[in-house]
Symmetry: C2
Subunit: 565 residues, 2 copies
């Protein structure tokens, strides 16, 4: 089938000034048994790609994904005579290229003067069919948006599809139209942040700074953007609330602030990929290589989603059919589709759910990187559902059909690889499991034996409003355990009042000062937390390893050296 399509594609190509050598390649591709093998190889490779890309999110896991594709390319290349690719290719005009903007007519793109027929690549593109937006034109502006393409092996993959050269005249014209950088208006960030991806911006604070304050300052709060930060004018901002029998309700920022009571919740937010780097060390996974600081705790203020939905007409009749609430951001991608996701209706409408349409973070307007002017805050639930730059809310009988709900942010068995993954078999991550990590000392730190005592610090949190009730710390690799001191406020300050059961949205900071074990030259320090449902963290990472590197909540371990001086 793939071979057939390739033959068709090449037949099309022959119609367009195909040079003899290229035509002969086409003939060989369609006939020779060597070529059959190669096509079979490519078919396998393509089939694998399809599976590989299924769960990959534009601008996130794509770095790793492209890495995997790269391996496949290399394997496939083994059977390709290198001379073929160095052959001179036909020259196309810009007009000729623009005629290939669909799967029927072929999907052609240009890049730095080359012309590429990527028709076959469309179904296996890690970013989905967004690639069609570039059809018939230059790739450069799109690759500027998704900086993940800025990798040598992405070019290698592209080179597989080269069918010609752009005419010198058209190439010159293209060069004159400068590709704008969609990230140019992203806000400035604090230099202390450790950057996992620049475009889109994803960064986390150093662990030892993270737990210096119970409330995380917004500049230090991890940033996890899927797209450029949208510029929103607060005066013209409108939130659409849809799916209810009275029709859409449109709310200005002022409406949100004045028509609904202001509600404040201290809630910890964590990325599902927090601690992915440790999972990556067990076996490569796809996604940004987060350390242990893709988590933060803030005071969020805003209108309660429940109040807004009630004002928009939510009532007993709606309760009969409504099952989910969708959120869409204003951070639209190049196809014009917004970042989107959904939560179950019971979380949205439960009086104890505390879901906010937040316009303040830590007592100030929500900063641009965190969703200005309005973000959803879904306490106890994975960061991915806390949609920033909120533009639209839809009450629905169905879960969001977005990529991020259906094909990402799901957990799988360690035995599930990209060849077997069935996204429908696994529920979208909502509440997160119990978690903790050691922020002080750092892995590899040196401890002076003359100190006699050692202080270990960290954070602990659980999803679903479950309160962390205990953190056990071991200084001997898990043989013996001591109970750490927990606090719900800054050191030396009184704790925040205890929330009612099921509404414990904020983390605990913890600390243990213990005698330095005598005679040990190296210590393996471990922490593990227990929540009030007595859920605990698993001992090790391999049994919870999953192909996207999500949900790493195994015991956190750091090793330190004890030195004499």
């Amino acid at each position: 089938m793939l071979l057939l399509r390739r033959c068709r594609s090449l037949t099309r190509l022959q119609r367009h000034q195909a040079a003899p050598c290229f035509a002969s390649r086409a003939v060989r591709l369609c006939s020779s048994s060597t070529e059959d093998q190669r096509s079979h190889q490519r078919a396998n490779w393509s089939a694998n790609w399809k599976r590989i890309v299924a769960g990959v999110l534009t601008g996130t896991g794509a770095v790793v994904t492209y890495g995997l594709l790269h391996q496949e390319v290399e394997q496939a290349d083994a059977g390709l005579p290198t001379t073929e690719r160095s052959s001179s290719l036909p020259v196309f005009s810009h007009d000729e290229v623009t005629k290939h903007r669909s799967l029927e007519d072929g999907v052609w793109v240009t890049y730095k003067g080359g012309v590429y027929d990527v028709t076959e690549f469309v179904p296996i593109h890690p970013g989905g069919n967004k690639i069609l937006l570039a059809a018939g034109g230059a790739l450069e502006p799109f690759w500027a948006l998704y900086a993940v393409h800025d990798q040598e092996y992405v070019l290698e993959i592209l080179s597989q599809y080269k069918v010609g050269e752009l005419s010198a005249e058209d190439l010159k014209k293209q060069g004159e139209a400068k590709a704008s950088d969609p990230y140019s208006s992203d806000p400035e960030r604090h230099p202390v942040l450790r950057i996992n991806s620049k475009k889109p911006f994803n960064a986390e604070p150093p662990p030892e700074i993270l737990t210096e304050s119970y409330i995380t300052p917004h500049v230090l709060f991890f940033k996890r953007n899927h797209l450029p930060v949208p510029q929103v004018d607060p005066a013209s901002y409108r939130l659409q609330v849809e799916g209810l029998p009275r029709g859409a309700l449109t709310l200005s920022l002022k409406d949100l602030k004045t028509r609904f009571p202001k509600h404040t919740v201290t809630a910890t937010m964590q990325c599902a990929g927090n601690r992915r780097s440790d999972m990556n060390q067990v076996k490569e996974v796809k996604g940004l290589n987060w350390g242990i600081s893709a988590i933060g705790n803030a005071k969020w203020s805003g209108a309660r989603l429940r109040d807004v939905l009630l004002a928009a007409g939510f009532g007993p009749d709606v309760a009969k059919w409504a099952r989910h609430v969708h959120f869409e951001g204003l951070d639209k991608d190049v196809t014009g589709s917004a970042y989107g996701t959904s939560i179950p209706i019971n979380k949205a409408m439960n009086e104890d759910g505390d879901v906010l349409l937040a316009y303040e973070m830590n007592g100030e307007d929500i900063p641009a990187d965190h969703g200005f002017p309005v973000r959803v805050v879904v306490p106890g639930v994975v960061g991915a559902r806390n949609v920033k730059w909120l533009g639209r809310i839809v009450v629905s009988a169905e879960e969001s059909s977005s990529h991020w709900q259906q094909y990402d942010y799901k957990g799988f068995s360690p035995g599930t690889d990209w060849s077997k993954v069935d996204h429908a078999s696994s529920p979208a991550i909502q509440e997160l499991p119990v978690q903790s990590a050691i922020t002080v000392p750092a892995d590899g730190a040196q401890i002076d034996r003359s100190d006699e005592t050692l202080t270990v610090k960290g954070y602990a949190w659980s999803g679903g409003g479950r309160e962390v009730v205990r953190v056990d710390v071991s200084l001997d690799g898990g043989k013996t355990w001591q109970v750490a001191q927990l606090r719900s406020g800054d050191k030396g300050q009184p704790d925040e009042p205890s929330p009612p059961p099921g509404r414990s949205w904020a983390w605990k900071l913890w600390e243990l000062t213990a005698p330095l074990p005598p005679d040990a030259d190296e210590l393996e320090i471990i922490c593990k937390a227990v929540d009030n449902s007595y859920n605990v963290q698993p001992d090790t990472i391999p049994p919870i390893w999953n192909l996207r590197g999500l949900l790493n909540n195994a015991w956190h371990r750091v090793k330190v050296k004890v030195t004499e001086d």
Copy 2:
């Protein structure tokens, strides 16, 4: 202080026909340095006992507790000349004994013709001050109630306190009054049950039978009684609902059935001590030695607690101060105090909480062993809060002060022993963590290699309404994992409809049929479950070991032999 009390006690004794040798013992106890050491030893022992007994529940952990006391006795005994205990003792009349019924007058008891001054033992009695009920009389009827006393070392402990002999005449009279067996009217039980304690009755079904049916028949459902089964006449049964501003509401069984809608919930119930036997193998714990079958799944029908509380006057004013709902059973102990416990108010009043005052189990009147005529069913919450033979409900600002709420059914760090335990530091267990176990094959089973495939079966469940979404099974000790098939109904029958998020109260049964690994002579089979908050089970037991042996939800492992024939 203890020494002083002992001297006072002996001084009192001297007033009552103390034999010279005994008086001289008293003098020695009060003066000599050897005796000081011994007293110190006894004081330490006594102090340890106080800690030991703090968390121990009459009729449950007491067997093990008495075992620990026994060790302490032996240590303390090491310094006691044996000649002292063989000395002849004074003879007391029954009337004389009855004068010692308080801490001021001393607490005397008789047992098989011996007279014992147990004043000092009162504060350290594992069963608390219930011992005072026997003050001034015979122990036999009380020990018949709490069969845990039927241990040789309990007699050794008692012997420490012997102060005399009962007169032959009174002994004869006592013998004529036969001690009645409070368990004589307990219902008949199915012989297949594995009995962990006869009096009170505690038993579980064999694992391989447990998972034969999705709904556990009541005869096979684990029984966990704290006391004799009360005989309740359904016609005169009354439920008291108290603590609300309108005063007490009294409901007959008919009221419950006719004044409130009948609501049916399929819910799994699990004892906090399920799988304790495996924890016991790591290090001895206190409590009944449950296997993996202290869990069952039933259809419960009854009035919703929420509806009953609303009818009793629960409203917004009450919501301002009410924090807990207490439940008391009709299974009263010899002090007249009922089995009691409490749950948080939000679980009771939440529309999605599904707490029932159940009068049916699997479509029939609740059987005597399971709480006839009414038991509370608190879905997603530990068995201990599902009070049977319900007599009284109290809405309160405070948690129940009962032993079972404050000093039992709490989890602790593996580093916490009885000398350090602070029960106030740990929350009462309510929701249980994610759990699973292998019911087929049994540990130690032999598998025929010619079978080629192996079928593994089990159950999986999580507390708090969290649905089990995956069970991973390993046949190679955790190196590789396969995903089991889950079901919510009997094999070959359609699954029960999926409950809404947060209301998944019932277990999943699971099964995996996989090729028998070639060449393996022994397989270590492991299962682990994941719930929809993506909480997982911990790998091993030692890091979750706790002194009461509760909450064992580590991976379940069985080893089987592969044989050639």
